[in-house]
């Protein structure tokens, strides 16, 4: 069935409906990973967004339930060039289309995804409407006009209740802003006992659990939209070793009074190079964010930049000079993407063991 992607600039791309059908509006982002479509689909950080894959062939190796990054796909729509007619891999348990349907993800195929990517690159906060109806310009204008980015994205994807995962090692409290499963898996693999808290948990509640360290997870949207998060983290940072990833990183910076800002079109992919300023070592990292920490706002906060992005010099890592708190903008847990900076989890756990 024919379906359309109406864009804010008045243009329209025509493709074929694929996956769940329906209509949606959202901000467009593109992801440049050549593998890992299933991880992208299930990454809660994409909540509220329409994701376009730049790699043109999607679905080649099928779907493996074991690699889901969350219980449910959270993105608004999925845009691809070509869907594999056959999936082939020993891990595959099903095809992409069935998965999209099952997850209720609206998808479009046969789109000139490169054209779309180039548009997204040019216009900040570019929005689109996916529909299988022909929409009139007036209606489109009205809907774009009315559309506001959702403010409650974290609430939508965070766990509703405390979750406890047994382990023999350090006890880590994870604040779930929309955590990817692989953050949990990484801590589990290192033997940690985990208590996963909803994003709204109070500092006192978290400290009461007596964790050895606190993990601030990734999550969707603007860090400033997460009510109370900065205040909670500020209290926690003074008491416990703390490690933030992506949204968690942004929240840590807000906690100490730094500022974040929205990038023109964010970083979404598995090939972003970062540099550790102290060691000079560079890593290729997996990234997925629209917002970044403003380095000029760090003065006087006690925070300092530890890592930068090699392409645009944006902040990729910070740490607190006094407290054992550090965070990174990228995803050391990978999935999809490279695992080059995976040892950050070890660094975190080492800090936890020293402190306790």
């Amino acid at each position: 069935m024919k379906a359309f992607l109406y864009l804010e600039d008045g243009s329209c791309l025509c493709g074929e409906s694929f996956g769940a059908s329906g209509e949606t509006i959202g901000e467009l982002v593109f992801n440049t990973c050549m593998t890992g479509y299933q991880e992208v689909l299930t990454d809660p950080s994409y909540a509220g967004q329409i994701v376009c894959m730049t790699y043109p062939l999607i679905g080649n190796y099928g779907i493996d339930p074991g690699v889901n990054e969350s219980r449910k796909a959270c993105l608004k729509a999925f845009i691809i060039k070509e869907a594999a007619p056959l999936h082939s891999n020993f891990t595959s348990r099903g095809g992409l289309e069935d998965f999209l349907k099952e997850q209720g993800v609206i998808a479009l195929k046969n789109i000139d995804t490169r054209k779309l990517t180039r548009k997204i690159r040019e216009i900040a906060g570019f929005k689109g409407i996916v529909s299988n109806r022909e929409l009139l310009p007036e209606e489109l204008d009205r809907r774009f006009e009315e559309y506001r980015l959702e403010k409650n994205l974290v609430e939508l994807v965070s766990t509703a209740k405390i979750e406890r995962i047994p382990g023999e090692g350090a006890h880590i409290a994870v604040i779930d802003y929309g955590s990817k499963r692989n953050i949990i898996r990484n801590l589990q693999a290192r033997g940690c006992r985990l208590t996963v808290f909803p994003f709204s948990a109070a500092a006192s509640e978290i400290l009461e659990a007596g964790p050895d360290g606190i993990m601030l997870s990734n999550g969707p949207g603007d860090p400033a939209d997460v009510p109370g998060a900065a205040g909670t983290v500020r209290i926690l940072a003074e008491k416990k070793p703390l490690f933030g990833i992506c949204l968690g990183h942004q929240i840590l910076s807000l906690a100490f009074g730094a500022k974040t800002y929205k990038l023109k079109y964010g970083h979404h992919g598995g090939n972003h190079a970062i540099k550790d300023i102290q060691t000079g070592r560079c890593y290729i990292t997996s990234q997925n964010h629209e917002y970044a920490v403003d380095p000029s706002s760090l003065a006087g906060t006690g925070l300092e930049v530890t890592m930068i992005n090699l392409n645009d010099n944006t902040v990729e890592g910070i740490r607190h000079r006094k407290y054992p708190a550090f965070s990174v903008q990228f995803h050391p847990e990978a999935c999809p993407g490279p695992r080059d900076a995976n040892s950050l989890f070890d660094d975190f756990l080492e800090t936890c063991s020293i402190r306790n």
Binding site: F30, Y61, A84, C282
Partner: protein, 1060 residues
């Protein structure tokens, strides 16, 4: 760490002649390395024996030595030049092995030359099988169970505990030479003994076969700060078992999950770190289709064919970056040359699919064993890019310039299913078409997978292509109209759609768009002009304003059309830019300098097929198209381009046709009173017999319109004629045969420039071998030394008359034969030839640059080199062909009218004999002062051969001989040792024969003993000379060796040799 400032002068080693396993990719990488060093103000000294390369141009390095890549010559050059460092990772296995030799002999230490980028230990650990295995065990990376063997006995013992099939890989050989797969003990013994002989260190690896595993490659880079990154990964469609050079390859991998991709990526980092390589390296894995189990197959601690492919597939200049890292830069300090503002430390993201298909030489070698295995056989490759697999694959198929435009080989239509299965089971370059035939007949993926182990995902891609065929065949009316468009958008050329439909196809104005290849999937604004076509919406290629000129490239490297044409195209592009035009190039060979996106103003990586070329012409509207620089590939497009009203620059299509159409050509010659061997173009048996009757034996027979003298033979009598027709009779009915009187004499080659009026001949070369040996396979000497002044005058006069009469505007090549009486024209090539780069370098006349100016309307007399024959250089140049005989089984090594060599080297010196000596040395033909020679002569060569045998005996050689040759020698009182056929084969295998001189009565007959003997010699790398002229020439080289005079190795540019 910034660059190493102590480094002022670097030595770069090239890869020498084109052979199977080492093609144009090392001209590309070496040229990049040279440019990259000079950007840093490091003085570059380059050594390469291959004159047909861009890297040996005077402006690429500060000093260029066209000298042998031997220990002797390079040691001498190091002594003379005193470089601070050596870049050995850019000239393939040849450079790496030579660097190892220089190290082992203490030359590098003695002169304080630092190996850059890769240490001696790293080379040993990556290349020595045992050291490699130990290292992998150290870092816990899995390798297949194996042993390193130095005797056949050890191999047999290993086989007792490990199941067949077993893979044999000799250490330190090119393209897996001497390797293979053994299925039983007999095969094992045979392959192992060959492998041991082929390995310079007499060592082979015997390992458990991973047949059927996916073969995955990673191109990885590392700097001195231990930063690592992947440029590209690739998946071989042909699973483990076929050499990656012979496999169809896609980039990026298609059937790996993210987890598997990252697993192998992590392993690649571990491996390059353990080897401490600063630069690039290629890692090959076998990955199980049923689990995450994988094994490391091999590591190349240098840039490679795969890295050239990866560079073109991603836009990431691996060689350039690797060379910068080798001199101390860190990856994060360098810029991405495509975006020009992001960092070079990043991993390219592709938003397209790349397909590479190898070009195999079996059309030239009908007797060759065509099955593919661990020993590489391809001479070249094509690459294509598409937004879908089907699109890229179809483009790659038609880039091969074979008979097929899709997956349908029409000749298979009549085969039975059993026959198709039979063929599909064999790994060959035709297999893909048999798989197409199986799919066409509804065979299931599972059945095909069981036999071929080709992943079902790829089979589905093939099936989509085949299904489209059927849909077209069965369609009619409106449905057909729709399907025609779908097929076109899938990547089918219109010609094939029409053939399938049996009617004209209207694609309704659908046009492809062109997307930029930008290394970053559109994430950043890119500054490069590297494009491919697809059928998406947005067109990113905006035609430049101003006048543009399109140069058509030469496609994949094959026998008869080598790297020299890439040299010509690149120079053509440069000249066009210099003349103030914008240059555009179309080519599909990923190995080359011409497909470097920095060469032309715009690069279209597309098939050189008329439809693809026309679409670009329609879009770009160039002022003209250059067809005379891209070899026969480009020239063959002239007719179709002219028919579509495209302006061909320089020599017009009519003129081209005048030279190539035999009848027109003979008529033209007679008009200007120049003789050619008498001949006829015939179709049908009666016409052939009549022609032969008129001419009288011997005659030269060949099909019309072919390259490299394909299927050309000298026929001495009726018996041979019948034999010829047995195998090549098809040509008699299809397209016809050319039958010429064979004239024995001296062959002379003239390359000239012409503006339609005047000519400039930079130089004349004469062949060592008499007529009958293809010019590409003969030794040729510059300047002509055995021709009297009046003959030279005649040649100049004839060349001028021909150029004028035909209307050549640009460059052309004429082959003459002089039988001591009359000068006759054998053929005129209205295009650049193999010898253009050689003559340009020897004489200093920039032939291609001048040709381009002439094409643009310039006049010869304004070029600054005068008219007529240019003055002789102080230098002698001896071009000698290089064969890849040891790579191909059942290919006869005898020299005939059909070209067989894959490459060439040039010996340069002020003394002719010394130049001959250097050329033999550069070709890797061992020059011995004494030893054993086996001689076997055909009857008409016996008298002449006797004299040559005497010369060898006088120098202390022992002659072995048998049968009639032995009797003849003994009757003429020449001491010849008798040897039986069996003993001879043993002697050859044991290295007890140094030289074979064998003039066969007739070659290419696999059933003769001579054939077997020559094969054996090729396998054991014993030089075989099948033409007496070559054997006589070798004596000069031997005399130089005996004299003990050490040659002077001098730069051809940047040094004294420049005073020409």
């Amino acid at each position: 760490m910034p660059k190493d400032l102590s480094l002022k002068k670097a030595l770069i080693l090239g890869s020498g002649p084109i052979i199977i396993g080492q093609a144009a990719e090392f001209d590309y990488s070496g040229t990049q390395a040279c440019n990259s060093m000079r950007e840093e103000n490091i003085e570059v000294v380059l050594v390469n024996s291959n004159p047909a390369t861009i890297m040996t141009d005077s402006h690429i390095a500060d000093k260029v030595y066209i000298e042998p890549l031997t220990l002797e010559s390079v040691s001498n050059i190091i002594r003379r030049e005193r470089p601070d460092g050596l870049l050995a990772g850019f000239g393939g296995q040849t450079a790496l092995n030579l660097a190892m030799d220089l190290y082992a002999k203490g030359v590098l230490d003695e002169y304080g030359v630092k190996l850059l980028g890769v240490t001696h230990e790293a080379i040993v650990r990556a290349e020595d099988r045992e050291a490699f295995k130990a290292l992998m065990e150290d870092i816990r990376e899995p390798v297949a169970p194996s042993i390193i063997a130095e005797s056949v006995g050890e191999c047999v013992a290993f086989a007792e505990t490990h199941a067949y099939p077993l893979i044999i890989r000799p250490a330190y050989t090119l393209g897996g030479t001497g390797g293979g797969i053994a299925h039983d003990e007999a095969e094992l013994v045979d392959i192992c003994s060959q492998g041991l002989a082929a390995s310079p260190i007499k060592q082979i690896l015997l390992e458990k076969s991973l047949l059927g595993y996916k073969e995955i490659e990673y191109e990885v880079m590392r700097d001195s700060n231990d930063n690592c990154m992947i440029v590209c990964n690739m998946e071989n469609i042909d699973p483990v078992g076929v050499h990656t050079g012979d496999s169809i390859v896609v980039a990026p991998s298609q059937t790996l999950t993210d987890r598997q991709y990252q697993m192998l990526r992590d392993a690649a980092f571990k491996i390059i770190r353990s080897l401490k390589i600063c630069g690039g390296c290629n890692i090959q894995y076998a990955l199980s289709p049923d689990s995450d189990e994988y094994m490391v197959i091999e590591v190349n601690p240098r840039v490679s064919r795969s890295s050239a492919l990866a560079s073109k597939a991603t836009g990431y200049p691996i060689a350039k970056v690797a060379s910068k890292i080798a001199i101390g830069y860190r990856l994060d300090e360098l810029k991405n040359s495509i975006t020009q503002n992001s960092s070079a430390f990043f991993e390219p993201s592709l938003d397209y699919v790349v397909v590479k298909i190898p070009k195999l030489p079996f059309d030239k070698f009908p007797t060759a064993e065509k099955s593919l295995g661990t020993q590489m056989k391809a001479t070249g490759e094509v690459m294509s890019i598409g937004r879908t697999f089907e699109e890229a694959f179809l483009k790659a198929l038609r880039s091969l310039e074979g008979k097929t435009l899709s997956m349908r080989a029409y000749s298979f239509d009549d085969l039975s299913l059993d026959e198709i299965w039979e063929k599909a089971k064999i790994q060959s370059d035709q297999r893909i078409f048999y798989i197409g035939a199986l799919l066409r007949r509804g065979v299931s993926f599972d059945e095909i997978f069981t036999v071929t182990k080709i992943d079902r995902w790829f089979l589905q891609g093939f099936k989509n292509i085949v299904d489209m065929e059927r849909a077209l065949l069965e369609s009619d009316g409106e449905n057909r109209k729709r399907l025609v468009k779908s097929a076109y958008k899938m990547g089918y050329p219109i010609a094939e759609i029409e053939r399938l439909c049996g009617a004209p196809a209207d694609v309704g104005g659908i046009k492809p768009v062109y997307k930029m290849l930008d290394s970053c999937a559109g994430e950043f604004d890119a500054k490069t002009s590297y494009y491919y076509s697809c059928f998406d919406e947005e067109d990113e290629s905006v035609p430049d304003g101003g006048e543009k000129i399109l140069v058509l490239g030469s496609g994949p490297i094959r026998i008869g059309q080598g790297i020299e044409f890439d040299y010509c195209c690149v120079h053509g592009v440069w000249a066009i830019k210099e003349a103030g035009y914008k240059s555009i190039i179309i080519n599909n060979n990923p190995e080359t300098v011409s497909t470097d996106f920095n060469t032309a103003d715009k690069l279209y990586l597309e098939p050189l097929y008329i439809e693809d070329v026309m679409r670009i012409i329609e879009k770009e509207k160039p002022a003209g198209v250059v067809v005379q620089l891209g070899g026969q590939t480009a020239i063959n497009l002239a007719k179709d381009l002219a028919a579509r009203g495209v302006k061909i620059l320089g020599t017009s299509f009519d003129s081209i046709d005048m030279a190539e159409d035999r009848e027109r050509f003979l008529k033209v010659l007679s008009e200007i009173d120049i003789q050619a061997p008498r001949g006829f173009a015939v179709t049908g048996r009666d016409a052939l017999d009549e022609a032969v009757e008129k001419l009288g034996y011997p005659v030269l027979v060949r099909p019309s319109y072919v390259i490299g003298g394909r299927a050309m033979e000298i026929i001495y009598d009726k018996r041979y004629l019948e034999k010829y027709l047995e195998t090549k009779g098809e040509y008699l009915e299809n397209g016809g045969l050319l039958v010429d009187k064979y004239i024995q004499g001296k062959e002379i080659e003239v390359d000239a420039l012409c503006d339609g009026e005047n000519i400039l001949i930079p130089g004349i070369m004469e062949h060592i071998e008499r007529t009958g040996v293809h010019s590409g396979d003969s030794i040729s000497v510059y300047p002509a030394v055995n021709l009297k002044a009046e003959i030279i005058e005649t040649l100049v006069d004839y060349t001028k008359r021909i150029g004028r009469r035909i209307g050549i505007k640009g460059v052309f090549n004429i082959q003459y034969v002089y039988d001591g009486d009359i000068v006759r024209v054998i053929e005129v090539n209205p295009r650049a030839s193999r010898t253009v780069p050689i003559l340009s370098k020897l004489t200093g006349v920039p032939m291609v640059s001048i040709a381009a100016k002439l094409m643009l309307g310039g006049r010869v007399e304004d070029m600054g080199f005068g008219t007529g024959l240019y003055r002789k250089s102080q230098l002698y140049g001896v071009k000698i062909p290089v064969f890849s005989n040891e790579k191909l089984k059942n290919v006869d090594t005898f020299l005939g009218p059909e070209m067989k060599s894959t490459g060439e080297v040039l010996g340069v010196d002020k003394n002719l004999d010394m130049a001959i000596y250097k050329s033999f040395a550069a070709a890797g033909l061992k020059i011995v002062k004494s030893g054993n020679i086996y001689i076997s002569l055909s009857d008409n060569n016996k008298e002449e051969g006797l004299e040559i045998a005497k010369e060898y005996i006088r120098r202390g050689f022992r002659i072995y001989s048998s049968g009639r040759t032995k009797d003849y020698f003994r009757n003429n009182r020449v001491a010849a040792w008798g040897i039986s056929n069996e003993h001879l084969l043993e002697f050859i295998a044991a290295g007890r024969i140094n030289i074979v001189i064998n003039t066969p009565t007739r070659g290419d007959d696999v059933n003769t003993y001579g054939f077997t003997m020559r094969q054996k010699a090729a396998q054991y790398r014993v030089p075989v000379y099948t033409c007496l002229d070559t054997a006589r020439c070798l004596l000069k080289a031997i005399d130089v060796k005996i004299s003990g005079v050490e040659p002077d190795y001098l730069p051809i540019s940047g040094g004294k040799k420049e005073d020409k």
